[in-house]
């Protein structure tokens, strides 16, 4: 009588211990979720100067575009359309209707790369650092190639109202025309002032600018 009980009990024990061993020995690895990673990232950074921790709070666009870069998947069509529409809505056109400033100032702004780093202050006049990524004036040969060449901008594209307002919008919030553009939102993120953006517009669109010579 006792025997018939013992056998299945031993078997059960064996099965249980096998399960336990497999759970401990080769625990199934699950990759950390985005939220788990974010928590560790946030605990690993600190405020320094003007660069505060709140900069790690991502916008919906930043989250979506990070995901696209991480996974290599395309942005869903409707989300792309919505993000671009939202970005376009942030663009503030110049109140006085004047789009072009001084191209010489524009060249200086394009050359300067400071602003919003912890090594800067809130008094630092930021630059656009345009040459980091773009070819612009032909005289400057130390240009990067992350963005497209802007040499001969006006000669190639003209200066119709459509080109002017597109260029303004691109500088103000590049995501308006390409949701996951790599270019900073110079107007929307308050990196440059309206006057500085006008100067950059002139660098690209003034017929006397070296860009168009």
């Amino acid at each position: 009588m006792k025997r018939t009980f013992t056998f299945p009990f031993t078997l059960l024990l064996a099965v249980l211990s096998l399960v336990t061993v497999s759970l401990i020995g080769c625990a199934v690895y699950t990759a950390p979720t985005r939220e788990e990673t974010l928590q560790i990232v946030k605990s690993s950074f600190q405020d320094r100067g003007i660069a505060k921790l709140d900069r790690l709070n991502q916008s919906e666009l930043q989250v979506a575009c990070s995901e696209v870069a991480l996974t290599g998947k395309e942005l869903p069509k409707d989300l792309r359309a919505r993000l671009e529409k939202q970005a376009l809505a942030t663009v503030k056109l110049p109140a006085d209707g004047v789009y072009l400033g001084d191209f010489k100032q524009g060249e200086r702004i394009a050359q300067t790369g400071v602003g919003m780093q912890w090594s800067d202050t809130d008094k630092t006049v930021a630059g656009g650092n345009c040459y980091a990524c773009h070819e612009i004036s032909p005289q400057e040969i130390a240009y990067g190639n992350i963005g497209p060449s802007l040499k001969g901008y006006r000669k190639l594209r003209g200066d119709t109202p459509a080109v002017v307002s597109y260029t303004w919008g691109k500088l103000w919030n590049s995501h308006a025309y390409n949701a996951c553009s790599q270019m900073p939102r110079y107007g929307d993120a308050n990196i440059l002032t309206t006057a500085q953006i006008k100067d950059l517009m002139a660098l690209l669109l003034d017929p006397n600018s070296p860009v168009n010579k």
Binding site: A27, Y29, A31, P32, R34, E36, T37, I40, V41, S43, S44, F45, Q46, D47, R48, A51, K52, L53, R55, L56, N57, Q58, L61, Q62, C65, S66, A69, L70, M116, Q117, W118, S119, Y131, A132, C133, P138, I141, A142, Y143, G144, N145, I146, Q182, P184, R185, A189, N190, I191
Partner: protein, 271 residues
């Protein structure tokens, strides 16, 4: 006549743009030659020598040297250890890179409190190297020529890699930058500075990982991998990564695993 003028103008424009391209190539070549010439004498040797002396010196409240520090290959084994870090350490139940481990050993063996050990890890431009920098130069010198072999066996090592990858692609801050904004495509440059594609190009990732730490001529000082990340995040407009924090170890794990198999060649010398 009009046609001829147009052809001549086009020719002149072409010649001009060729001149610009040539000038750029000449500048890039000159920079490459400059880097080549720098390889002859590397002041990092002196830093590594100071690091070795520090390693063997009895210091801290416990008046002990770091000679019994376990860098993953057993207590006191320095040779080849850097090439296998970050790795999981059971005694701390966490993944640590070389610099984090040095701090750990300064705390556990020498009795420093952590805040003191991890304070001011980076020297100022032209300033004397910090202890962390000297100890790192010493360690990495003893891995020269050793193939990178960052382990991915322990679940915490895998998790460090996966988090590091996620952080690499995380766009945030006022400029919307991530590491991948500059280091995710092959053949990109900022101005004339070539940018390694660390995430998807094995050769680029290998060159980047195996040549840090480096003596930075423009700053007159030796820079570690923790510093390299720190200064990238500054330009990324992020807040500051805490020295030896988990996220920095995660990122170094991601970079290191992508470089597995390549031979360490550090401290190197850079512009």
């Amino acid at each position: 006549m009009k046609g001829i003028t147009r052809v001549a103008l086009a020719g002149a424009a072409l010649a001009l743009s060729c001149t610009a391209a040539l000038a750029q190539k000449e500048t890039a070549d000159a920079i490459a030659r400059y880097r080549q010439l720098l390889q002859d004498g590397n002041p990092a040797e002196l830093v590594a020598a100071r690091g070795e002396a520090l390693w063997k010196e009895k210091r801290g409240p416990k008046k002990t040297s770091l000679e019994q520090c376990d860098l993953g290959l057993g207590a006191g084994v320095v040779k080849g250890a850097y090439a296998q870090m970050p790795r999981y350490f059971a005694d701390a139940d966490q993944v640590m890179d070389y610099e984090s481990r040095i701090v750990h050993c300064m705390v556990t063996l020498q009795g420093f409190d952590r805040a003191t050990a991890a304070k001011n890890p980076y020297s100022g431009t032209g300033q004397r190297q910090t202890d962390i920098e000297a100890l790192t130069a010493y360690g990495v010198e003893l891995s020269r020529g050793v193939p990178v072999n960052i382990p991915q066996e322990h679940p915490k090592e895998k998790a460090a890699f996966d988090r590091g990858k996620q952080l690499f692609y995380m766009r945030a801050g006022p400029y919307d930058f991530s590491c991948a904004s500059c280091h995710g495509v092959t053949g990109q440059r900022i101005r004339l500075q070539d940018l390694p594609n660390i995430s998807q190009n094995k050769e680029d990732a290998a060159r980047a990982f195996t040549t840090w730490p480096a003596y930075r001529v423009s700053q007159g000082t030796l820079r570690t991998m923790q510093w390299r990340l720190n200064d990238c995040f500054r330009q990324q407009r992020f807040p500051e990564p805490v020295f030896a924090s988990p996220a920095t170890v995660d990122l170094i794990t991601f970079l290191g695993v992508n470089a597995n198999g390549a031979k360490m060649d550090s401290p190197s010398i850079k512009r």
